[in-house]
């Protein structure tokens, strides 16, 4: 296309130029031709005038000479007396004086007395009397006459003494000399042509090429088509001549005249040099215009083609080179625009590429770029027989930060975390944000020990308090590590297993966990459980078990703890420890809590109908505390079943309260406002301080069973239990001891003034039917002996 454009442009320019040149030249050509004809005509006409003048002048010269002779008395006397020698001498003398070619003296009867040529020799004058008969009518007579086959300009004058006594004729020949003379004057080619009747033709010409044949045809053409006035083109020899026939008054019906000719070449001569110059100029300017056209088209199209090349280059994604059209005109401006556009595209593409490979929040490489890098790293590690480690780290309960403090804070936490992690790594290590609060670190070329150090350093850094505005956040992180080639040969395996290890770490409440072979099967199991969990409640797979809580003072059972059980269709009964974390992790926990709350309150109402005024405790997850709707939902259920809120005890772990203390406190306060009782579960496993505990609106404290189970044999635990009980009592809280499995422990607790005991000693958790029966039975008895509980539970 570019070539065609250039070609077309060049051709157009050339065509226009050639057209102009051609028309100029044609105009010039025809004008000069016309001008040459006009010039020739002018020349010929002026030549004809010169010729006429010359002839007149010569006629006058002849007449003068003749009159001079005839007026001479001596001559007349000589003529009258027939003095022939004198006559001859006079005739020769006077003829010679004017270079006459012919002098004739004759008697009145035409008898020639003397006839001389230019050299003075006698000359045969032919039919002189015939000429005289024409001359007789006037005193003097001049004409062109054929004498001896030659044309003469002849003047005949009567010799008078005083009457006519003789005739004197004098003439000039129309010969080469005259022709040359005339040519000198007129600068025309002169040919004298004469012919009498059908006699031989007389030709004298300044043109060497003019021969008798030419002259004959000329003469014939003049007789058929008169050419006087209009120059006609005749070819004489090799040249063309503008020809004008100038007839002369001739005697004896002779045709005599001068052919005046002007060479066409001569006429065109001046124009020819002009024409040559014009052609030269035209050719030169044509060549110049060819180059000019080429230059112009290149000048225009080269930048265009460069732009085209640049566009193709840009299309292929190469933005490094400028278009390279450095001009001041529109094309230059276009090229500048191209360059700017190209830089803009490059910049945006870089941006896009960066965005494609980086996380916009933390500017860390994203999952995709990690995947690429990991693939390459695995290739490299495979090639060099090296190991590499994939570390996955997330922030425990990060969702709660987002939910309770807002995403802006959450984002700042992530940014800060990213920066911290990055700063604790070498440059060669890769840190990527994998999504959400998950970060992945890729460590290459480290020994096992170095890996441990690096992981430890990461954990250390990650758990330092983060300051957000005026707040300091204490974050827990979990880190899982998978090592190539030990734990997987592909990026996918390594990442998944690092994730599993991280999950395990979280489960195990440890900061860091290296992947353990086979854990992914467990993980898969858990994943399937999460799926099943969603259907568990609608399918009625969930069931509440109730474990009685013995009031050690009244020796009566006034409360039970509701414990959820999952009857999985395939896996059978699944303990809460297995699925509750999954439910929390997957968000199903709220649905579960809701179901449990509803079921518990409904059960309360049902038992009331059976005159069992039993309070029921249920467990709330940490996530439940982040749900602000919980008090309202609870109130609505209580109202629905007309259950005394005081019969309900909501148990929360101290870690759940600690996680988002401010919000949790608010929710707890609102729950207490509903009239329900609140208990701290698993007390002693967390890090909550007593001062913090004091602010909580709780009614009772449940000592974690890990202390209770061993207190009978471990004096330290017994001390802790007793101290806790005393402390709680001092704070006005009732104390519940879980995990009471033997009478001795029960007795110890009683000795410690523990308020309530719960455990297998009293009863295992029972399905609702058995629990109801157990409770009905228990109403009849008091717990004096340890064995009773067992009996009951077995019943």
């Amino acid at each position: 296309m570019e070539l065609r454009f250039r070609t077309r442009m060049t051709v157009l320019l050339l065509g226009l130029f050639a057209l102009v040149q051609l028309s100029t030249f044609l105009a010039f050509y025809f004008a000069t031709r016309q001008s040459a004809v006009t010039q020739a005509q002018t020349r010929l006409e002026s030549g004809a005038r010169v010729f006429s003048s010359l002839m007149d002048a010569r006629g006058a010269q002849l007449l003068d000479a003749v009159q001079l002779i005839t007026s001479d008395f001596g001559f007349r006397q000589a003529v009258a007396t027939g003095d022939t020698p004198t006559i001859h001498s006079v005739l020769y003398n006077q003829g010679h004086r004017i270079s006459a070619d012919l002098v004739v003296l004759s008697g009145l009867d035409g008898q020639v007395v003397a006839s001389l040529d230019a050299a003075g020799h006698p000359l045969e004058v032919g039919d002189w009397p015939k000429l005289l008969r024409q001359a007789e009518r006037s005193q003097q007579w001049s004409s062109v006459s054929m004498i001896g086959g030659k044309p003469y300009q002849l003047v005949i004058v009567a010799v008078k003494a005083p009457t006519r006594i003789a005739w004197l004729g004098m003439g000039f020949a129309l010969d080469d000399k005259l022709a040359r003379n005339l040519k000198d004057l007129s600068r025309l080619e002169v040919t004298f042509v004469a012919r009498r009747d059908q006699g031989p033709i007389w030709v004298r010409s300044t043109l060497p090429a003019m021969d008798v044949g030419q002259a004959t045809s000329l003469l014939q053409s003049t007789s058929t088509a008169p050419i006087e006035g209009t120059p006609r083109l005749s070819r004489i020899g090799q040249d063309d001549y503008f020809t004008l026939w100038q007839p002369l008054q001739a005697a004896d019906e002779a045709r005599v005249g001068a052919v005046l000719q002007f060479s066409r070449e001569l006429a065109l001569h001046t124009y020819q040099s002009l024409e040559r110059e014009l052609i030269l100029i035209a050719l030169l300017s044509l060549v110049a215009s060819v180059f000019g056209g080429l230059w112009l088209s290149r000048h225009v199209t080269r930048p265009v083609s460069r732009l085209a090349v640049a566009v193709r280059r840009i299309e292929q994604g190469n933005y490094d080179l400028d278009v390279g059209v450095d001009r001041e005109d529109e094309l230059g401006a276009l090229a500048d625009s191209f360059n700017r556009m190209q830089r803009g595209i490059a910049q945006r593409e870089q941006q896009i590429a960066h965005q494609a490979h980086h996380d916009s929040l933390t500017s860390l490489p994203n999952r995709a770029s990690l995947q690429e890098r990991l693939d390459r790293a695995i290739e490299a590690a495979k090639a060099h027989g090296q190991t590499l480690a994939v570390l996955m780290l997330d922030i425990d309960r990060f969702k709660e930060i987002n939910d309770t403090m807002g995403h802006a804070i959450g984002d700042r936490v992530l940014i800060e975390m990213g920066q911290r992690l990055r700063s604790s790594l070498d440059d060669r290590d890769m840190l990527a944000r994998f999504g959400g609060d998950e970060f992945v670190v890729l460590l290459e070329g480290r020994s096992g020990e170095e890996l441990e150090h690096a992981a430890e350093a990461l954990c250390q850094t990650a758990t330092l308090p983060i300051r957000v505005d005026a707040m300091e956040l204490f974050l827990d992180t979990s880190l899982g590590m998978a090592i190539y080639p030990e734990h997987g040969a592909t990026a996918e395996d390594l990442l998944r297993r690092a994730d599993i290890a991280m999950y395990d770490a979280k489960q195990a409440h440890v900061r860091m966990q290296v992947y353990q072979t086979g854990r992914d099967a467990m993980h898969l199991y858990r994943l399937s459980l999460v799926n099943d969990l969603r259907r568990a409640i609608p399918n009625g797979e969930m069931e509440l078990y109730y474990q009685p809580k013995l009031n050690l003072n009244s020796r009566k059972v006034g409360h039970v703890e509701a414990l959820v059980r999952w009857n999985h269709p395939q896996h059978g009964l699944i303990p809460p420890n297995d699925f509750v974390p999954l439910a929390e992790h997957s968000g199903i926990i709220r649905m579960l809590t809701d179901w449990v709350m509803h079921e518990v309150i409904r059960q309360c109402a049902e038992w009331s109908d059976q005159d069992l005024e039993i309070g029921i405790a249920l467990n709330l997850s940490a996530m439940d505390l982040s749900c602000g709707e919980l008090p309202e939902v609870l109130s609505s259920y209580l109202a629905k079943y007309d259950v005394d809120p005081a019969r309900l005890i909501l148990e929360v772990t101290e870690t759940a309260v600690m996680r988002d203390a401010v919000y949790a406190l608010e929710v707890l306060n609102r729950l207490r406002d509903c009239g329900v009782q609140l208990a701290i579960d698993d007390f002693g496993t967390g890090y909550s301080s007593l001062s913090h505990l004091k602010r909580l609106p709780v009614n009772e404290l449940k000592i974690d069973k890990s202390f209770v189970l061993t207190m009978a044999d471990d004096s330290d635990d017994a001390v802790i239990v007793r101290s806790t009980i005393e402390l709680a009592h001092n704070m006005g809280l009732k104390v519940v001891a879980e995990g009471v499995e033997d009478a001795r422990t029960l007795e110890m607790l009683r000795g410690f003034h523990c308020d309530i005991a719960q455990g297998f000693l009293i009863s295992r958790p029972l399905p609702v039917k058995q629990a109801t029966a157990w409770l009905l039975q228990s109403q009849l008895n008091t717990f004096d002996a340890c064995g009773m509980g067992n009996q009951l539970s077995e019943a």
């Binding site: 008078k160 005083p162 009457t163 006594i165």
Partner: protein, 228 residues
């Protein structure tokens, strides 16, 4: 008026033979051109056939030069007559003749030329002036005393011609040829007056003896002025 004819001459010849010689008579000759216009300056002369001519009168004749012309234009004389060529103009003239009958030249002169020119040979002498080309005059030298010149009326009267037989010659400057023409070979004169008419075929005037128009301006007359 056409009278020339063989029959008529025969009649006249017979009449002449019958009649005795009588006294001289007058011959009136009318000369006209082909258009019957009267021709002046025609010279009629009669030559006697068989018999001597009478004594010549031989009185001197004059051909004047007046107003740049020869006057008279035609001067018939008898052989042996001397003619003077006076110059009445105030310009000079050079009178000449190249005629075979009499060749002479009166070199440039003014006034009367002392000498006269004797014409002793019959013939027609054309007189010219070498200075004034148009001037022409004719002296007709005749060997008979019987001649006359027509006037402007075209009539010539030949007087005192004895009875006899005559040959009649007629000449005029414009007749074809130089010599006089015999118009009647056998004219019988009885002494009684006779009239004849002749027609002449005249050519164009060769010389008119008339000066170019306007040339007379400033010219005066040296001698006795002629009547115009």
């Amino acid at each position: 008026m056409a009278v020339s004819g063989i029959g008529r001459r025969l009649v006249w010849g017979w009449l002449v033979c019958m009649l005795p010689l009588a006294q001289a008579g007058e011959l009136r000759v009318h000369v006209g051109d082909v258009n019957s216009v009267a021709v002046a300056d025609a010279v009629v002369s009669l030559s006697r056939i068989g018999g001597n001519s009478a004594v010549a009168r031989k009185a001197p004749a004059v051909m004047d030069q007046h107003d740049l012309r020869f006057v008279p234009f035609v001067l018939p004389i008898q052989v042996g007559t001397a003619v003077t060529f006076p110059n009445s103009d105030n310009v000079r003239h050079q009178v000449y003749s190249f005629s075979p009958a009499k060749r002479f030249e009166l070199s440039l002169y003014a006034g009367n030329h002392t000498s006269s020119v004797l014409f002793n040979q019959p013939g027609i002498v054309t007189i010219g002036c070498n200075i004034h080309d148009w001037m022409v005059g004719y002296v007709i030298v005749l060997d008979t005393p019987y001649f006359a010149k027509t006037g402007s009326d075209g009539v010539a009267r030949v007087n005192d011609v004895p009875a006899g037989v005559y040959e009649v010659h007629l000449w005029h400057p414009r007749i074809d040829g130089a010599a006089a023409r015999v118009v009647d070979e056998h004219l019988v004169l009885t002494g009684a007056p006779m009239e004849r008419s002749f027609q002449l075929k005249l050519g164009p005037p060769d010389q008119s003896n008339v000066p170019p128009a306007g040339l007379e301006m400033g010219l005066g007359h040296r001698m006795h002025p002629h009547g115009t």
